[in-house]
């Protein structure tokens, strides 16, 4: 149970650290930290990326 005025805080680990994986774009060389199942290069929108 919770309320809109004050959500109960559950510690879901530190939400801002180590949540993504490092990738390199095979088209433009950009490296980035990706989230989710379908990482996409932020520079050229390529899905041709490799986890590093």
């Amino acid at each position: 149970m919770c309320s809109a005025g004050g959500p109960i805080e559950i510690d879901l680990n530190d939400p801002l650290k180590g949540r993504g994986k490092k990738y390199r774009c095979n088209d433009c060389g950009q490296t980035f930290t990706g989230l989710g199942k379908h990482p996409m290069c932020p520079s050229c929108q390529s899905e041709n990326v490799t986890e590093i």
Partner: protein
């Protein structure tokens, strides 16, 4: 008893889902784009693809127009979103939160704006546990516990730039 609801979801206009005290605004991504998620320590990138959902939640209710603006900024203009640290004092000031993903689960046990994972979205407890996704021409809502009302919003943002002829 939880139930599954299917709502026609064919046009580009957002769907407004209202509960007793809060609401959700749901749109479908029409193009692929990288959603940039900024934290205080790094930049995260998630691919958003056509038919993914972009959902704005107003856990305390309020006006729909700011939610529409937020939806527009992410869905159309692809502006980055910000994830706060979990103890950040600003989390209690956030009236509207947004997520973009293929399938989004509504949660009321996480602090607003503090989690970058786009498959979770903070809501009031009346929507907690609901899972939203698009299936062909429908918006599917799983685990709907409460009575909800659904509206299709038709809106158009227009602006006219009037040139000043002289400056004194």
């Amino acid at each position: 008893m939880p139930r599954t609801i299917r709502i026609p979801f064919t046009g580009g206009d957002p769907v407004l889902i209202r509960g007793r005290s809060s609401f959700l605004l749901v749109a479908r991504a029409t193009e692929k784009f990288p959603l940039i998620i900024e934290t205080d320590t790094e930049e995260l990138v998630q691919g958003v693809y056509p038919n993914d959902l972009i959902v704005v939640s107003a856990p305390e209710g309020g006006e729909v127009v700011p939610a529409l603006y937020l939806l527009e900024m992410v869905a159309t203009h692809h502006l980055p979103v910000i994830a706060l640290g979990k103890s950040h004092p600003a989390s209690r000031r956030i009236s509207y939160v947004v997520s973009a993903a293929e399938k989004i689960e509504m949660r009321c046990d996480i602090r607003r704006g503090t989690h970058p994972e786009q498959h979770l979205l903070c809501t009031a407890d009346e929507f907690a546990g609901m899972i939203l996704f698009a299936n062909e021409n429908n918006l599917v809502i799983e685990n709907c516990r409460e009575e909800i009302s659904v509206s299709q919003l038709v809106w158009e943002l227009s602006i006219t730039e009037v040139q000043q002829k002289s400056f004194d």
